[in-house]
Symmetry: C2
Subunit: 350 residues, 2 copies
DNA sequence: TTGTACGCGTTATCAT
DNA sequence: ATGATAACGCGTACAA
């Protein structure tokens, strides 16, 4: 198949390649007539400039990469939309890449930096477990958003930005809230066992809250998600809760560390003939849309996704333009009480 | 910042660039010792080959592009996972791109074909409304999956593959099912007004079924999704249903043309004090996980996503290797009866 | 087994 | 306003 290039167009138009290039790239120094003529020929021929060659040569790519850890997380969808829109407004382009759980997002960023002449990188999700050396090779500004905020101390805080809620604290608050409703046997559905992962931070918050309230932590109420299936999924919440019920360990509330897990938990409870919140209270985390529309609607700790998204992209642009230095911003989450939680009914324990 | 290139590595190692290239690309003609030496230097230096330059030179990219229309559709997530896995198994790489609703996915494919030396393209979602000329410029095999199956006649069926359910027929079946339950006033929640879109095909099936059963179509029971928000979203189902209720048009069933819409509808009904399915039956379409975990679980027309995904990627590889010609496969959907639908209660109409 | 030199398609520089 | 030409970083004949 004969790949059609800028040279072919130039020949067909009887002009030099530079003129064609000028036409394509909206350069000022070109006769409008020549330009329309060239554009016409291009449209007819179906010529598409080779992006690899462009990126190879170009100095000003005006491109920002967004790397998302995991693909099925609905939590990020809205954030990405906002970020994309802002990037478009600035006449930049965005390259969105999903990174598998086992892939190293920094490697991907390193690649993209060279390939696309990136101006900045946004990491969405994942764990901050990157070596200083590797990050040192990333010569452009990068921001971690929605990532367990505790980064290794060896990495200078001035070399990157971080935007997240305080997962430990907010998890503490949610646990405290459930305790306040009279619950003492609170099962927690958690995912991710990696050190400093969001899952672990939330678990720590739970432990601390119980400890502070002098409620003994029952290890058999701490349930890790099943490994082989998507961690933060409804299915995982469902299966984990089912197992919990089968083991007949008494509890009066379930604190799921994500709303998807909470949904699955609700279903399992319902199938077991338990009423929410009369028999069992269920709380989630994140504040995705679904929680609002679920039945019962689900009490959750809502992360200010829109705010976080806007802040992320604006901060990145400010850093790129030299207006700001790196920042580490902690957002407050909002406890939204909905139908799925209530005061404990006396004498019940399932 | 001094971009480090293959030349720097070569100089540092005291070898020629080709030797470094051979080391990077696992070529056979290289002394193992030289290779390890070079790789060591590379690792220390943090050198990352420039992908643009590579793609520019390379002839055998072994890369397949997956273009997804719209980003927040959970329906595609599972399909993408399967496709990605199969691609990995074949030692190919996958490039996943989300295409906005207003963007032209064929343009994106055209770009990528040149940029990444693609071997094939998979289009997920969207509408088949592409000009013959443009598609003619795509010199590699491409498959449309989950796209309204009625393509313009001007395009030869031998030039592309298509994998989908028969949206009109399956929509007909769903409507028929609801009619079979005794419903006559069936509101339909639909999205997309574009000709030949999935939304329109499903609407056509609805109309036909009513017509065949001699039930007059009430135009005010046909509700289009609100334009400015995500079409197939829970929010849209919720708001649309709310409006429907406010208008006090009597109906005993809602057929939502996607499960997300159905979820929103359920919530709106519940808030209005209506019971599902006692007062109103609700049916969805697609068969996403959520329908199973929702409360009530939602009757749906399940598309065989896994099958469709496997078939798509296998067919593509067969076409690439010359084993097969293009195919047009229609899958059967499966009507899954769940808790949200039931026989009509006599004398009720809301 | 290794090194030299050319070219991939484009943009930028410098003439004209 | 336009054209010739030198890079961009890499892979690969081809020569050594």
């Amino acid at each position: 198949m004969p790949e059609i290039t800028i040279k072919d167009i130039a020949r067909q138009c009887g002009v030099g390649v530079s003129t064609v290039s000028r036409a394509i790239n909206n350069h000022p120094d070109i006769n409008p007539e020549t330009k329309t003529m060239i554009m016409q020929v291009i449209n007819e021929s179906g010529f598409v400039p080779n992006n690899s060659a462009r990126n190879l040569k170009r100095t000003d790519a005006k491109c920002i990469a967004v790397l998302v850890k995991g693909i099925t997380n609905p939590f990020f969808s809205n954030m990405i939309k906002i970020i994309e829109e802002e990037i478009r407004k600035k006449k930049y382009t965005m390259v969105l890449q999903h990174v598998e759980y086992y892939e190293d997002e920094v490697n991907v960023a390193l690649q993209l930096e060279k390939e696309k002449r990136l101006r900045g990188v946004i990491f969405l999700g994942g764990i901050f477990a990157h070596s200083k050396e590797k990050l040192g090779n990333l010569h452009i500004p990068y921001i971690f958003t929605t990532i367990g905020s505790a980064a290794p101390k060896s990495i200078s805080k001035t070399s990157y930005s971080n935007i997240a809620v305080d997962d430990r604290k907010e998890s503490y608050r949610m646990t405290e809230y459930l305790i306040g409703l009279g619950h003492r046997d609170i099962a927690i559905l958690t995912a991710e066992s990696e050190f400093r992962s969001i899952g672990q931070l939330r678990l720590e918050g739970y432990r601390e809250a119980l400890k502070d309230k002098k409620i003994p932590v029952k290890e058999n109420l701490i349930r890790s998600a099943i490994e082989d299936i998507e961690h933060y999924s409804m299915e995982n919440g469902y299966l984990t809760t089912k197992r919990l019920l089968e083991e007949k360990i008494p509890f009066t509330a379930i604190y799921a560390t994500s709303d998807s897990l909470a949904v699955g938990a609700c279903r399992a409870l319902k199938e077991a003939g338990l009423k929410i919140p009369e028999d069992v209270s269920v709380a989630g985390f994140d504040g995705i849309d679904l929680g609002k529309y679920y039945n019962p609607s689900i009490t959750t700790m809502k992360q200010p996704m829109e705010d976080m998204a806007y802040t992320t992209i604006r901060l990145l642009f400010d850093i790129i333009s030299g207006k700001k230095a790196h920042e580490h911003i902690v957002f407050e989450a909002e406890l939204i009480e909905r139908e799925s939680t209530a005061y404990i009914a006396k004498g019940t324990a399932h």
